[in-house]
Symmetry: C2
Subunit: 197 residues, 2 copies
Amino acid sequence: MVKTYVFGHKSPDSDSITSSLVMTNLEKELGNTEVQAYRLGNINKETEFILNYLDIDAPELLENIEDDANVILVDHNSPSESVENLENANILKVVDHHKLALKTSYPLFLRFEPVGCTETILCKLYEENNVEITKEMATLMLSAIISDTLLLKSPTTTEDDKKAVTKLSKIAEIDVEEYGLKMLKAGTDLSSFSIEE
Amino acid sequence: MVKTYVFGHKSPDSDSITSSLVMTNLEKELGNTEVQAYRLGNINKETEFILNYLDIDAPELLENIEDDANVILVDHNSPSESVENLENANILKVVDHHKLALKTSYPLFLRFEPVGCTETILCKLYEENNVEITKEMATLMLSAIISDTLLLKSPTTTEDDKKAVTKLSKIAEIDVEEYGLKMLKAGTDLSSFSIEE
Ligand SMILES: [Mn+2]
Ligand SMILES: [Mn+2]
Ligand SMILES: [Mn+2]
Ligand SMILES: [Mn+2]
């Protein structure tokens, strides 16, 4: 079976990193065993907080892909925000919540919804495919929704995001406000900057 | 509530016409009452056979749309195959099985799958949303899948199309081979051409 690369956008945020992990798990559950999550850049402080909370590793860094590589894009679709050589890849699927900026010469699987976070869509895909959402997956999804919607307060927040948070916080056994504020605060942690900055 | 126009591509085939009707019904079932199916050109002989079989009218002809009109595209996404003034419309949703040829400046709902027919995707959308597929809707969906896949024999045919046909033929109470051959034959009916042609 040929390998499939799953990744979010360059300068990855928490939605891009967690969605690559959550989408990879979904593909495996659906029988695509040769699938692997990647990242297109360094992990930020907020994402580091999430991965530390779960004690899991960040996806491997992806520098470039070979011609005809099978790829799945999450949390982006614009080639300018994606991997080098995307134009020669075989894009199998895209799950995203941004404006449409991709063209293809072949049909593919697309699942876009105008919601606050890619993980809100992935949460639906797990349900529709009757794939169990584990505590770890729920924590990843929930963290990204909190991040993208700023604790459900951003103007991009929809009813679907709120429903997902209610469902996922139960599975993850997480107090949304308490965990969310700690997580968002970790993202604004300036302790790694020197005094001059 | 603002009106929503639902339509398939120019020079409409049976998938474009039936999908506009089936998508409109789905939207109504989901609470979007101000939605209406349209066509971007004349009905062909095959589609006429389907509409006559069900004794239903063809969708109204759409010449153009006003700026900021709400639209839902089915069975196409390329602006070159769509209505005039699409660039100034507000595209709410696209359900399609073709290559990706559309760009937008805003997020929207997209459901694309690399299957043989748009109706195969719509059949899934009814299931996922727990909307009943009536005998009439099943007949429309089934007819389009038979048309686009040439009775499940075209190279674009997938397992999903076959599953949909099995399910829909039971609801529609239709013998697929018998009905399908009559329908495809109606589409190649040359009786309306003069001897000179
Ligand atoms: Mn992002
Ligand atoms: Mn996002
Ligand atoms: Mn068509
Ligand atoms: Mn079609």
